[in-house]
Symmetry: C2
Subunit: 148 residues, 2 copies
């Protein structure tokens, strides 16, 4: 989804839920669409600050959660404990693999894994709603330069 389209859909989303279209909400959406990287709530707060977008930390958190509910963003837990967000691009769902040394994050998608997850859930009588898969290891450049 392109920035303009995202913004339009976000406004619609807000109106459908009878929520107000505020400058802060739009600014945060725009900022989220300006990076192709994963970002934390704190980073977003910093960007807003730098860009005079005037959103308080509380509003940043509230808006990120709102965008999560509307599936404008997805998030996963970094090993630090903080949540990392990324905008939904209309891309297929993907999972993440983190380098434990340099912190690099790569995305991957594997249909076979998804199908097997669904199968396992069914086998256990669960109706699958969501899943979180995070792989951790050493990336190519980090493992080429280490002994440990």
């Amino acid at each position: 989804m392109k920035p303009a389209a995202a913004r339009r859909r976000f406004e619609l989303f807000l109106k459908e839920r009878k929520l107000r279209v505020t400058q802060q909400r739009l600014d945060i959406l725009d900022l989220a669409w300006e990076t192709h990287d994963h970002f934390s709530a704190e980073q977003m707060f910093g960007w807003a600050r730098v860009r005079n977008a005037h959103a308080s930390r509380a509003t940043v958190y509230r808006t990120l959660n709102l965008m999560l509910e509307g599936r404008f963003l997805s998030s996963f837990e970094a090993s630090s404990g903080a949540a990392l967000f990324e905008h939904a691009l209309g891309h297929n769902h993907h999972d993440h693999i983190l380098c434990l040394k340099c912190g690099k994050i790569e995305e991957f998608h594997c249909d076979a894994i998804e199908k097997l997850q669904e199968q396992e859930a069914q086998r256990l009588g669960f109706q699958l709603v969501d899943h979180a898969l995070i792989l951790e290891g050493h990336c190519a450049s980090c493992s080429s330069t280490d002994e440990l």
Copy 2:
């Protein structure tokens, strides 16, 4: 691993690392082996309190981390944000599926998924160290009684 064996191995582990075998450490190990359920640090603190095991919250956290390092326990992140622990029984590695309504936790293991994770990591040039897979959904009894 049975309680007695766990305790013996834990004492060995401590001695190998030149750490002291304290009453608190043994009590916490015993308590961990008294449940077949997943437990949080706070729960363990409560048990210790009730049982006069006299371990402070700080000691509980420190000891749980120690047992994690020694692979006496494994842990994963509950959706609440708190870590859930379970004793290592010598069982094979397994993943978890949580019911979003009643909180029930089931374990499962799927070799095919593990292999595919390894493949994906290799494909991306990563040397896989660990992974976390958590499925979330509605369990059989919760999905039979709901409309949502």
